[in-house]
């Protein structure tokens, strides 16, 4: 008997770059990708703007940005030459599940030309993830590098558009620290744990060292060490275990850009689209969410994301913290572990979001190791949103507690 993915999808076209082989005129991997994609579009009559899922070895965000498309499914599996067969497998699952109908699997690799135009980064866009791109070429002269150097531009635009002050966002840092003081595992739990730990005031946030104006250091997440893992199973396996399940009711993903140079609207992220997909799958909406876990790389990230998730009106994200709703005891607890701002942020904070969501909805957020009295909320639903890059990519989950 065939499996559930049997004939769930079909390959409907296949094309290559204009010229391939030992090219006399060196070519970049990027150009090889784009030519193949354009030729595929012409062969099949499927416009590039209709592509919903992009599967490529480590370079999908860059390709989407270059094409100006905003997909619903992004896969960068890069495990060697077999990656493309795996991409097709993953695309089958995504199509079968009804997430997407049209998937692009793309390859571009200048193994020959790279020897001529530099395989050491340089002008070779590019052999794989992290390599240079035309966006980097046109940005690298201008002294940006660290995350705050980029994110500060979004904060200035957000303040300009909505007439907010930096102090409004400082409340996010203060309230998030309040949560950290209830979590013994938080890096900023107490003065004993870290010299800068323990409660902070809005004034202290405002008066701390400027990193990238308007961001002071207390508007920024930490850079720490972290390891974490979650196990996802079928309902059948979940029922056989002693741990309490937390149900995945909805999921969605999207992207706006890779390089901030390509950010259409500095006051909005793709979390609007990714959360819409997640809410729709869950049959729930923002008003059904009883808590939220939001990637708070910076205070501005949390504020914008809260707006994108529909938890606050545009320009009013910060009020959730300022008015105390997001704080311990508030009506919409947010970042109950102490966040990237005060709990832990190793560089990619998405995993701590998942761990805290599980702890809260499984009722294990306050066992003395993972939290002190006051950290465990009564929430039965939680929206979780991770943001990647420079406000570039987003993944949203809607989780619900077991009955």
């Amino acid at each position: 008997m065939p499996g559930p993915l049997y004939k769930a999808a079909a390959i409907v076209g296949a094309a290559e770059a204009n010229e391939i082989g030992f090219l006399k005129t060196p070519i970049t991997a990027l150009q090889l990708h784009i030519e193949a994609i354009k030729n595929l579009s012409e062969q099949t009559g499927v416009a590039i703007s209709r592509i919903e899922g992009v599967f490529s070895t480590g370079w999908s965000t860059e390709l989407c940005e270059h094409l100006g498309i905003k997909p619903k499914y992004i896969d960068t599996t890069s495990v060697g030459g077999c990656s493309f067969e795996m991409h097709v497998h993953h695309a089958m699952a995504a199509i079968h599940a009804g997430i997407i109908d049209i998937a692009l699997v793309s390859h571009g690799e200048n193994g020959h030309s790279a020897n001529k135009i530099g395989g050491r980064g340089a002008s070779n866009y590019a052999r794989g993830a992290g390599a240079l791109s035309p966006g980097v070429e046109m940005s690298m002269a201008y002294g940006l590098g660290s995350a705050p150097s980029n994110y500060a531009h979004a904060m200035v635009r957000h303040m300009h558009r909505y007439g907010t002050k930096r102090e409004d966002y400082a409340h996010i840092a203060k309230v998030t620290r309040d949560w950290a003081t209830l979590n013994p595992r938080a890096a900023m739990y107490s003065k004993e744990k870290h010299p800068f730990g323990g409660p902070i005031t809005v004034e202290q946030v405002e008066e701390s060292r400027v990193i990238a104006w308007p961001l002071t250091i207390l508007h920024c997440c930490m850079v720490t060490d972290h390891g974490g893992a979650v196990l996802v199973t079928s309902p059948k396996v979940a029922a056989s275990l002693n741990t309490k399940p937390v149900w995945l009711a909805g999921a969605g993903e999207s992207m706006g850009h890779g390089n901030m140079l390509e950010m259409d609207d500095f006051t909005a992220t793709s979390a609007g689209r990714s959360s819409q997909a997640a809410y729709t799958m869950a049959g729930l909406g923002p008003s059904d969410m009883e808590m939220a876990l939001i990637y708070d790389s910076f205070t501005i990230t949390a504020a914008i994301t809260a707006e994108m998730l529909g938890l606050a009106a545009p320009g009013e994200g910060h009020t959730l913290w300022k008015d105390g709703h997001a704080a311990p005891g508030g009506k919409l607890p947010i970042n109950t572990n102490g966040g990237g701002l005060s709990f832990n942020h190793s560089g990619m904070y998405g995993m701590p979001l998942l761990i805290e969501a599980y702890r809260q909805l499984s009722g294990t957020a306050e066992d003395g190791i993972n939290g002190d009295t006051g950290k465990q909320t009564s929430a039965r639903t939680c929206v979780v949103n991770g943001t990647g890059g420079s406000l570039s990519t987003t993944g949203t989950l809607v989780l619900v507690a077991d009955d």
Partner: protein
């Protein structure tokens, strides 16, 4: 003094931009089919997906879209801090990144979003003249 900060490495399809820059011209890619300018330079129009692209000489004028003041910088840029970075809305459409000139990084509130700017080029090496934008009177 020779230019000591990071110098862009030029791609294969961006040569007309750097050639123009060395002549004091701001060259921009435009789609022949939909007529729209895009930035950064691409192999395909990000608006209509035509590959029928051309280069035009831009006006070299624009306005501040948003900005930030970099106090913590790395490498050679560290000794320049604080300095103002900004995204510029080009008169022709789309945006460029720059280190903004003609502003006081110690008075960030005095910098105005929407303020007019003009491009100027600084020689980094014989092949590379880097565009920077300067705030000017309305």
């Amino acid at each position: 003094m020779s230019y000591d900060k990071p110098i862009p490495t030029q791609g294969t399809h961006t040569k007309p931009f750097w050639q123009g820059a060395s002549e004091g011209k701001l060259m921009l890619p435009r789609c022949v089919d939909c007529n729209r300018v895009h930035w950064y330079p691409r192999h395909i129009c990000p608006h209509c997906h035509s590959m029928n692209l051309e280069w035009i000489e831009g006006s070299g004028r624009g306005r501040i879209h948003t900005y930030a003041v970099q106090h913590l910088a790395f490498g050679v840029w560290a000794k320049e801090a604080p300095y103002v970075t900004a995204y510029i809305d080009l008169n022709e459409g789309d945006r460029m990144l720059t280190v903004l000139r003609g502003v006081d990084p110690e008075k960030p509130e005095d910098i105005k979003i929407g303020a007019p700017v003009v491009v100027e080029f600084e020689k980094a090496n014989d092949d590379t003249y880097i565009p920077f934008w300067r705030v000017v009177e309305e």
